[in-house]
Symmetry: C2
């Protein structure tokens, strides 16, 4: 089994801890993200669509792309996703954190973020930032993320 | 003159508008940033030092590096700087915006940001983010940047 998982998800993969033993869910930063599957996942969580061509380039230019797959020896299914941009040294920013609604409530989001942060730690990134929708503020602040503003770093947005 | 400037600063360079006609200040995303000069600039604005080796890698991995140089045909001097990370398609984040104290108060910061945003616009980046120290909040909000929180995107920090 472990050899098959390495083949499918790369040696840096990690099994998710879940309350069911009928399912195997796997975190991986090495397995390639299928764009159509990613679009289906984004549809499922209710995000607006983006042109695939642009998403492909954005993924290529990202520092880190992480998926959660429902393991299947032939057709693993993408059920979670997150990516980071940054310089890989000083700064990283986490974007597009998604867990498929059918798989929510089992602690997958937390495991996904822990996996992402562990990868960034290995690169010795100094500081990680993230922008979250108001509904999920509690999710991040419960995991050691510090909500702005603390009067230290003020966040700004600009739409060119 | 224009040919010399192209040679020194690349074809995408732009002259700064300043109240003095004894000085020529040039914006460029193409001229290479000297790490020692950048460190001197960061010292001058009072930032804490970072290991040069890490700064070099961070610059290499950045999407965009912009300098302002005091033009001199032999030894141009770096007097301003900004860089961006991001995927070059959907997101970009501006970091390390600095203007040498001797050159502040002449609108250079504003011109630097306008140049940075123009470069990101050419790449059709959808959204730009930035974290600013509290002292310069007015600087950015006066230029069309939208300060968070607006209850839409909450900013988080994490130190791995």
């Amino acid at each position: 089994m472990s050899e098959l998982l390495n083949d499918l998800y790369g040696p840096a993969h990690q099994l998710c801890t879940i309350p069911s033993d009928r399912l195997t869910l796997v975190l991986s930063r090495e397995r390639e993200i299928d764009l159509i599957e990613l679009e289906q996942l984004c549809d499922a969580v209710g995000w607006s669509r983006r042109p695939l061509r642009r998403v492909r380039r954005a993924l290529q230019n990202s520092l880190l792309r992480v998926g959660i797959w429902r393991h299947d020896p032939r057709v693993p299914k993408l059920v979670g996703f997150a990516r980071c941009t940054g310089d890989g040294v000083i700064d990283a920013t986490v974007w597009d954190v998604a867990v498929h609604p059918l798989y929510q409530g089992a602690g997958l989001g937390k495991q996904l973020m822990a996996y992402v942060l562990a990868q960034l730690q290995r690169q010795q990134v100094q500081r990680v930032s993230l922008f979250a929708d108001p509904e999920v503020v509690g999710f991040y602040s419960g995991q050691g993320w510090e909500l702005e503003p603390q009067g230290r770093r003020c966040a700004f947005w600009y739409a060119p």
